[in-house]
Homo-oligomer: 174 residues x 2
DNA sequence: CGATAAAATGAGTCATGACTCAGGTTTCAG
DNA sequence: CTGAAACCTGAGTCATGACTCATTTTATCG
């Protein structure tokens, strides 16, 4: 049986509201605020998502899938720069990349796979040293995104810092 | 007038307890827990530090000064590695390096100065490119420490990730 | 149209954790 | 020794925020 029309409408509104709220305030965003933003009562939010974390996880998965999609049509360095840029704008990316306790299913795994593909491509193109593994790349990506966000890195600092990282990934003399 | 003997004793106990508690749980450590650990009542903690943040700031300053001291007798790369190692063990370092809202006075400034000295020395020794500024170094240090801690980087991952960063800081072909 | 089940509402419950303060205890100067 | 000032105590206050549920509203089906 398909859900009632208003239920579906509200669920969508809640997801949209939560996306904005978590982007602005991170996991600290109140369920109450999400409800208000969605034009709905708190109870309704909890009807659709049994737990605040469940809602958060839903948003995080969306965010991670979005990244995977973008990774598919990008290059390694461009992708990393794009993620760090977005991290400065919305808190969700970092929350998703660096939430050790919340279970995002295989969304992170998928993203890692996608990045591995970018890494292989970059390696084959001679843009990255052959001994660099995905681990480091994920670690560096997460680190940069997280620090950039919460340190409020200026665009200039972002550029210079990423330059160091990119140089570190590149083969000698390239 | 010098404070009463018991007051001084308690203050020291509170600082010691807070150091441990914040190292283990970060800023999330409860004032209550600190009090228990210090063998003292909550009220006593608040008598010595008007606010939980005041206590936290005191610990953070201590931590930053400790880092400055260690920086004075180290080299840039060794120092960075040491800080990241410590970050994995105690949460205080990262809290101190990456707490944008808490006012640590000039403790961060001092550390930055010390690191600048290390940077200059490394540059003169030809170990670091001449166009690298302290900003990037601080940014990379903070990023690595933060991510290492909260991602639980293994020693191996730590080593490989720092290798990338160090290579990025180094001049070509060194 | 009703009837009814699904959904929404929002005031209320509960847990947590920072902070207070009236009353008891300890230190120490004289 | 002794009394006042300085300290300490810990139950209680207050704010916050997740989550509940009795009651009311609404979508949908015959």
């Amino acid at each position: 049986m398909t859900p009632r029309a208003d239920a579906e409408r509200n669920r969508a509104a809640i997801l949209a509201a939560a996306t904005e709220a978590f982007a602005e305030h991170g996991p600290a965003a109140t369920t109450e605020k999400v409800a208000i933003r969605a034009g709905v009562a708190v109870g309704t939010v909890f009807r659709h998502f049994p737990t605040k974390d469940a809602l958060l996880v839903a948003i995080m998965k969306e965010s991670l899938h979005g990244l995977s999609r973008r990774a598919a049509e990008s290059t390694l360095f461009d992708f990393i720069a794009a993620v760090v840029d977005e991290a400065v704008r919305t808190r969700t990316v970092v929350t998703a990349l660096a939430a050790p306790t919340l279970d995002v299913g295989d969304a992170l795994r998928s993203l890692t796979d996608e990045i591995e593909r970018l890494l292989t491509k970059a390696r084959d193109a001679g843009e990255v040293r052959s001994d660099v593994r995905v681990d480091e790349v994920m670690a560096l990506l997460t680190a940069a995104a997280q620090a950039a966000q919460q340190g409020g890195w200026s665009e200039d600092l972002r550029r210079r810092t990423l330059a160091v990282i990119f140089r570190g990934l590149a083969p000698w003399g390239s």
